[in-house]
C-alpha cells in the first residue's frame, strides 16, 4: 500500500493540543465537546461554542477535524446531540465518530460524514459491510490481530465495499496510547466500585491500581508476580509500523485526548517521521530505537504492541503512574510578548530555573515549544537562577499569552 494514502489522526483535548498536532504534522485531529464523549473527566474539554474555532483552526492549517460523540446515549441527551450536530454541519466538521445508533441516524438525516467508533467493537467483515451503509470510515476493535485486520481490508477490496459517500470504505486502527483491560466500551469495573459511568466517559481507571488476590474461603493471599494484574501497558506500534501499513489500513489513530500538548506533539512527530521513513525506504532499527526513546519521554505505562501480533495475554504494567523518562514541573505562566524582538516574558510562580535547564511552553499559539536555556535573563539582567516572583524572558517566535504555562523538563 502506498504510504501517501495513510492519514495520521491525533488526539486533541485542548487548543494547545490542536496546535501541537498541526506543528508535528498530523493529517487530522479528533476532539470531544460537552459530556457526550469518552473523556468527560478531562478538565480542558471543549464546549459547543468552540466547534467553530476548532474547525477554522484545523482547516486553515490544512488538516481535518473529527468530532467524537461516542458515549452511551440516553433519551435526555437527544436535544444536546442535535444541537451539537447542527454546529458540526454549520461549521463543516469533517466527520463525527459515533458508536450509538441515534448518532448514526441523525448524522444520516443531516448528511454528516460518519466514522464508526472503536466503541462499536467491529471485529469482522460482515459488521464492516453493515456499517458501510452509513459510514465512510470504520475504526476496528483494538483487540484484533494484524492478520485479522489484513483479512478485513483485503475483503473490503475484494468485495468492493463502498462507504455511504460512494468511495471505498476506509479502515482506521489505533497505533499508540492507552489500552483498556476490557474489550473497549464493555467495562463496568468503575461502575461496580465507584458507580462511575465508564461508558459516559467517567472511567476512574481502577484497573490501573495494584491488587491483592485473596482466597475468600481460606482468607489466604494468592501469590501473583505482579500486583497490577489488570493494567495493560500502552500500545506502541512504532517498531512494527511497516507491518501495520502493510495490513492495508488507511487511518492511524493516536489515543490520548486527556494528555497534554507535549504528548500530542512528540507522539505525532514520531509516527509522522516513521510513516515518511517507510514511504522512502529508510525505516530501520536505528531510527526505531530513536523514536522509542523519544516516545518514552512522554506519559506512558511502558510499551507493547497490543494484540496486533497475536499474543495470548496482555502485558501488564509494573507501576501505578507514568513510566515516562522525562517529567514536566510547573514553573510559571506567560505575562507578555515583545513581537518586534520576538521575546516572551514569563512570571515564575514555583520552583527554580538555572542556565542549561530545558523548558517547555504549552499554549494555544505554540502547541508545544521546548528549548534548553543556555543563559537566563531574569528581570532584564543575566542571572544564574530564576525563582518565584522573577520575570524570565527568552526568545520565542510565537506569541506568548497569559494562558501559556511554563514547565521545566527534568529526568523522571
Amino acid at each position: 500500500m502506498a504510504n501517501k494514502t495513510i492519514e495520521l489522526l491525533s488526539p486533541a483535548g485542548s487548543f494547545d493540543c490542536i496546535q501541537a498536532a498541526i506543528n508535528a504534522g498530523a493529517d487530522a485531529i479528533y476532539f470531544g465537546v460537552e459530556q457526550l464523549n469518552m473523556r468527560t473527566r478531562s478538565s480542558n474539554g471543549f464546549s459547543l461554542a468552540d466547534i467553530e474555532e476548532v474547525s477554522t483552526l484545523c482547516h486553515s492549517n490544512g488538516i481535518k477535524a473529527y468530532l467524537t460523540l461516542n458515549t452511551v446515549m440516553y433519551d435526555h441527551d437527544m436535544q444536546l446531540l442535535k444541537a451539537i450536530l447542527q454546529q458540526v454541519k454549520l461549521h463543516h466538521i469533517d466527520a463525527v465518530i459515533a458508536a450509538d445508533f441515534a448518532v448514526m441516524e441523525y448524522c444520516s438525516q443531516l448528511q454528516i460524514p460518519l466514522h464508526i467508533s472503536t466503541q462499536a467493537n467491529i471485529s469482522n467483515i460482515a459488521a464492516v459491510q453493515f456499517f458501510a451503509r452509513m459510514a465512510d470510515v470504520v475504526v476496528l476493535a483494538r483487540e484484533l490481530t494484524l492478520r485479522q485486520i489484513t483479512q478485513i481490508t483485503r475483503d473490503i477490496e475484494r468485495r468492493n465495499i463502498l462507504g455511504v459517500s460512494g468511495k471505498p470504505l476506509e479502515v482506521e486502527i489505533f497505533v499508540h496510547g492507552a489500552l483498556c483491560m476490557a474489550i473497549s466500551g464493555k467495562c463496568y469495573l468503575s461502575l461496580h466500585t465507584q458507580n462511575a459511568a465508564a461508558n459516559r466517559g467517567a472511567c476512574v481507571q481502577n484497573c490501573r491500581r495494584s491488587y491483592i488476590v485473596t482466597d475468600a474461603e481460606t482468607n489466604e493471599q494468592l501469590v501473583i508476580d505482579n500486583e497490577y494484574i489488570m493494567s495493560p501497558k500502552d500500545l506502541c506500534t512504532i517498531g512494527v509500523l511497516d507491518q501495520v501499513v502493510n495490513s492495508g489500513v488507511q487511518v492511524l489513530k493516536i489515543e490520548g485526548r486527556s494528555k497534554g500538548a507535549d504528548y500530542v506533539y512528540t507522539v505525532t512527530k514520531c509516527y509522522k517521521e516513521a510513516l515518511e521513513a517507510i514511504a522512502n525506504g529508510t525505516y530501520n532499527a536505528a531510527s526505531i530505537a530513536q523514536w522509542e526513546t523519544m516516545l518514552a519521554t512522554v506519559y506512558n505505562r511502558g510499551f507493547w504492541e497490543g494484540y496486533y501480533l497475536g499474543q495470548e495475554m496482555g502485558e501488564w504494567t509494573k507501576s501505578p503512574g507514568s513510566a515516562a523518562t522525562e517529567k514536566k514541573v510547573y514553573i510559571g505562566k506567560g505575562s507578555r510578548y515583545y513581537p518586534n524582538i520576538q521575546v516572551g516574558e514569563f512570571d515564575i510562580e514555583a520552583g527554580t530555573l538555572q542556565p542549561g535547564d530545558t523548558i517547555m511552553v504549552s499554549g494555544q499559539a505554540h502547541g508545544m515549544f521546548k528549548e534548553t536555556l543556555h543563559q537566563l535573563t531574569v528581570n532584564g539582567n543575566h542571572a544564574i537562577i530564576a525563582e518565584k516572583g522573577d520575570k524570565l524572558t527568552f526568545p520565542i517566535t510565537t506569541k506568548v499569552a497569559v494562558t501559556d504555562k511554563l514547565y521545566k523538563i527534568t529526568k523522571a
Binding site: Q35, T40, Y74, Q79, A196, A197, A202
Partner: protein
C-alpha cells in the same frame, strides 16, 4: 437545615441522581444535564435546602454521583 449544592456545569448527564431521587432531580432535555428542581442558581452553582427526612437518601445520591458534583452542607 441542610443544603444541597450542585455544580451543574460539570454534570456528565448519567442520570443516576434522577433515578435514585426523582422528586428532587430531573434530566434537562435542553442540555442533557441533571437539574436540581426549584434550586437557586448563582454563577452556575445551584442550591436548595432539604428537609431532614430526605437527608439520608440525598447523601446516598451525592455518593452515587460519578463526578462528585453534589455536596451536602
Amino acid at each position: 437545615m441542610s443544603k444541597i449544592i450542585h455544580y451543574r456545569n460539570k454534570c456528565i448527564g448519567c442520570g443516576i441522581c434522577q433515578q435514585q431521587q426523582p422528586t428532587l432531580w430531573r434530566m434537562s432535555k435542553k442540555d442533557g444535564k441533571a437539574t436540581l428542581i426549584q434550586a437557586i442558581e448563582k454563577k452556575g452553582i445551584y442550591q436548595i435546602a432539604i428537609p431532614t427526612h430526605l437527608l439520608e437518601l440525598t447523601i446516598n445520591v451525592a455518593k452515587a454521583c460519578p463526578v462528585n458534583i453534589i455536596k451536602i452542607v
